[in-house]
Each structure stands twice: as C-alpha cells, then as structure tokens.
C-alpha cells in the first residue's frame, strides 16, 4: 500500500506544474476508464472549467461546456493530460510535458495576442 496514490488528496484540485515550473492549471477532474472484471484505470487529468463547475452543479458544468464550445479559440475537447505524463503528486502535481503541448493555455495565448498586445505597455519583451 506504500506506493498507493490517494487521487482525491494528492491529485484532484492540485496545481499542475510543467518541467519548467510553469503553471498549467488545476486538476479539475480525473478521468477513469472502466474495464470488464477489473478495477477502472486512471487515464487522464482534466483541466477545464466545465469539469470543475460540473462538480458543483451539473447544469453549471453544461453551461461552462456550452460557453467553451461557443467561444473558446480553436475549441474541440477540453484539455486532458494523460496520466502517463504524471510524475508526482502531493501539494502540487508535476508532469513531464511542457505546457505548450497541453492546450490548457489557449485563452492565455488568445488574450495575449488579441487584447494585451494592443494595450500600450502590453507588448512582449523587456521587464517591468
């Protein structure tokens, strides 16, 4: 039992960090795959508002899903990080893939290009 991983305590709702320590998001949901005559297998961590709000109230999740499908740039499915990339849990979850491969920061990129860069002082480069 020593190598067991309490999913709710050490994975769910924890901050996901990529190998460079960049914040990818929080683990909003955990995806299990049911298997015949065997325990379900953990296959992915979900980083999506709809997964999070669905845990509060199902219809809030549906609303967040509709909003994402309607407005998210290049939206298709909510970002999932396969559990194969899980390195360790605890008070943070560390993964072995860079954030650029996760699709979790599409809004960050869109806002940066379409909004922030158009405000004086918001362009790339330099330090504050």
């Amino acid at each position: 039992m020593d190598d067991s991983l309490p999913l709710v305590r050490d994975v769910l709702d924890k901050q996901v960090l990529d190998p460079d320590g960049c914040k990818v998001g929080k683990v909003d949901g955990i995806v299990l795959q049911p298997r015949a005559n065997r325990p379900p297998r953990v296959i992915a961590m979900e980083i999506s508002q709809s997964a999070a709000w669905r845990r509060v109230y199902r219809r809030l999740g549906d609303l967040a899903d509709w909003l994402r499908a309607r407005f998210e740039p290049g939206a298709n499915r909510p970002p999932r990080i396969l559990f194969d990339h899980f390195v360790r849990g605890g008070i943070d979850v560390h993964i072995d893939m860079p954030w650029t491969r996760t699709r979790a920061l599409v809004w960050e990129d869109w806002l940066e290009d379409r909004v922030i860069a158009r405000i004086p002082g918001g362009r790339r480069g330099g330090k504050k």
Binding site: K23, R55, V56, I91, G122
Partner: protein
C-alpha cells in the same frame, strides 16, 4: 541591516493593509455615536487579526502556497466556488468603496463632485498596477499611507481621557441605540477581518519569495504592523469621540468625519483628513484590485505575479483590468461611498468564516505545514476566532436591517 529594513517595510505595509476606508469609516462612526465605549471591539478584532495574519504568513512561508491556492487544493472546488463567488461580490463592493474614498478625498480638497474623480482614480489605479512591480505598488502606497499618523498626532493634541479610554477596553453593553451599536461593532470587525487582506498578505509573501527563514519576520510584521495599524484606528475613535460626538455630529458622510482633524490642526484639518483618506484608500484599492486577480488566478491555477509583464500572465492582467472599471461603475451607480463602505463591511463579516475556517484546517495539515503546524494554544485561539466569525456572520444581516 537588510533584515531590519525588511521588517520596517513589512510593518509599514501591514499598517497600510490595516487602515483602509472601512477602518476609517467604522472607527469614525463608532467614536461619534458611542464615544470610547467601542474600543474593546477594536482591541478584540486586532488581537484576532494578528493571529490570523501570522498564521496566513506562516502558511505561505512553509508551503509557498497562497491562502486561496491552499483552500482550493485542500477543501476542493465546491467549497472554493462559494469563496470565489462571495469574495468576488464583496471585493468588488470594497473596491468601489475604496475608489469612492479616494474620489471623496479629492472632492474635499477641490469642492468638485466626487463622481468626476472616479474615472481618473480608476485609471490611475489600473496604470500603476499595469506598469508597476509588486514592491512599487505595495511599498510606495504604504509609505504614502504613513500620513495617517496625523490621526495619532491629532489625538495627542486634543488630549485623550486615558481613564475613560481604559474603561472602553472592557466589553460593555450599549447605553442607547442597541441595534446601531451592534451593527457598528459588526462593521468594525468586518473592516478588520477583510477576507481580501489575508489572501493579499499570503500572495505578497509569495511575490517576495518568503521562505522558512522569514517566519520570525512574519511574526514581528503581523504583531507590530497590525498593532500600529490599531493604534491609528484607536486614535480615530478617540478623536471622533472628542471632537464630533460632543457637537452631535453623527458621521453620515465623509465630509462630517473630516471635522475631527479641524480641532487639532485648524484650517489644515480638512486637507489633512483628505490626504489621509485618499492615500489609505488608494493603497487599499490597489490591494483589493490585485487580490481579485490573485483570487481567480490562484483558484484556477493560472500564471500570476504582479512582477511579470502583462503578456506573461494575460488572464491575471485581464482580471484586474476588468475589475477596476466595474468597481468604478459601482461607485457611480450606488452613490454615497460611506453607505457602500458600511454595507460592504457587514458583508465582509458575513464572508469571514468562509476564509477563516479553512485556515484552521490548513494550519494543522502535515502536508502543507510539516513541523510548523499550529500548537494547542494557536488552535484554541483560531477556533475561538472561527466561533466569533460565525456568530458575527449570523447576526450581520439582521443587524444590517435593524441598525444600518
């Protein structure tokens, strides 16, 4: 020497965090209406807030997580969603009250309607956060806020009745107008237990990369910073009791509150009050606006830091960019900044247990706090604070109706 400078800066910052539009307004109201009788509420609230601040700072030093971060992670999204919605509403109202406070300060000096200043104040606020770093925003505003020491000087000038002040430190029932007395008491506690303050404090600790070696500094900062802040708030109560109460002035507006500095400083009194109100509110509005961005970014795991360029934490930057104009619109729409302030302080009291209760859990969590967990005495105190917070939250709305 560097450590001493850090401690001094931390104390000044804490004074800035302690003294905002809510603290000034509730202290002035309490003094004018009930003399020195409510000093005990201020003393009780200060002791509680010292404990809470120390614990929140220790959490950040040990776990490198802010309070909101830890609440989401330890208590789950469902609990966090209540905190998110509650704090969003309360922080927007407090932001409106703080922006209104700065605008009223400018009105006191110029005589021009305060509403004209609201967009200017909001733009200045946004510009400072957009371009500034955490230390510029925090330390600059806090150093300016030292002008509020004028209240202490004014109190000495007027000559406080020390015996009566000492008696005021003992809990007592109201001699008249009980509903208003207890509503004001809730307001004072609400102004001290501002949920934004605790999370802003932990976020600041992470911005400034506090670690285990900063635990003693955190303790000194929490006790002395809040202590000095309380001295200024005590001075406002005493000044208000000695200069406004005897003339039957009940502080229905900031203009009336400003007269408390006329007796000690003469014609300089009103501009000095305006400077105190303006700088304290501007400093606090920076903290509230940033805290709204911290709340969303930490709760949803986005990149965040006031030290990053806006393109490096776009969602963080967008959050305060939207929050500030919303706060400004609220001031203009709701009118009367003093009413917004007293109402938002009661809502603060309502929300306080939602943020204080998880602190009790977190401070005993071995994963977050390791060997720096709370001892028995700390747990007894924070449990008592949780009970007080729940009691106050339970009576906040009925008192709002009866006494507000």
């Amino acid at each position: 020497m560097k450590n001493l400078t850090n401690v001094a800066l931390g104390i000044v910052t804490s004074i800035g965090g302690f003294l905002d539009v809510g603290a000034i307004a509730t202290a002035a109201l309490a003094g004018a209406a009930f003399g020195l009788q409510m000093l005990w509420v201020l003393a009780l609230g200060t002791i509680c807030v010292m404990f809470l601040t120390e614990m929140a700072g220790r959490l950040a030093c040990v776990s490198h997580h802010s309070l909101v971060d830890a609440v989401r992670e330890r208590c789950g999204f469902r609990y966090f969603s209540f905190l998110l919605v509650g704090e969003l509403l309360v922080d927007l109202l407090v932001l409106a009250a703080e922006i209104g406070g700065v605008a009223v300060a400018l009105h006191l000096v110029t005589g021009i309607d305060y509403r004209w200043f609201v967009p200017i104040v909001a733009f200045a606020l946004w510009l400072l956060i957009w371009l500034g770093t955490f230390s510029i925003v925090q330390n600059g505003a806090s150093l300016l806020g030292l002008i509020t020491l004028a209240f202490v000087v004014g109190m000495w000038w007027v000559g406080p009745p020390w015996h009566e002040a000492m008696r005021g430190l003992l809990p007592s029932a109201p001699s008249h107008d009980a509903a208003r007395y207890w509503f004001t008491a809730v307001g004072i506690i609400g102004a001290l237990f501002e949920p934004f303050m605790l999370n802003f404090y932990t976020s600041g600790a992470i911005e400034e990369k506090w670690s285990l070696k900063d635990i003693p500094m955190n303790r000194v900062t929490a006790v002395l910073g809040m202590g000095f802040g309380a001295v200024i708030a005590f001075s406002i109560v005493i000044l208000s009791a000695l200069t406004l109460g005897p003339h039957g002035i009940q502080v229905d507006s900031y203009e009336q509150a400003a007269f408390m500095l006329v007796q000690p400083f003469g014609s300089w009194g009103i501009p000095l009050f305006a400077a105190c109100l303006g700088t304290a509110c501007f400093g606090a509005s920076l903290q509230v606006a940033l805290n709204l961005a911290y709340l969303f970014s930490q709760g949803f795991g986005w990149n965040w830091s006031e030290n990053l360029k806006p393109h490096e934490d776009a969602r963080f930057a967008i959050t305060y960019t939207l929050a500030i104009p919303l706060g400004a619109v609220l001031v203009v729409m709701l009118g009367d900044p003093l009413q917004i302030t007293t109402f938002s302080m009661a809502l603060n009291a309502l929300l306080a247990p939602v943020i204080v209760f998880p602190l009790l859990i977190l401070m005993n969590d071995r994963h977050y706090m390791r060997e720096y967990r709370n001892h028995v005495v700390g747990n007894v105190f924070v449990s008592a604070i949780v009970v007080i917070a729940f009691l106050i939250a339970a009576v906040a709305i009925p008192l709002e109706v009866l006494g507000g």
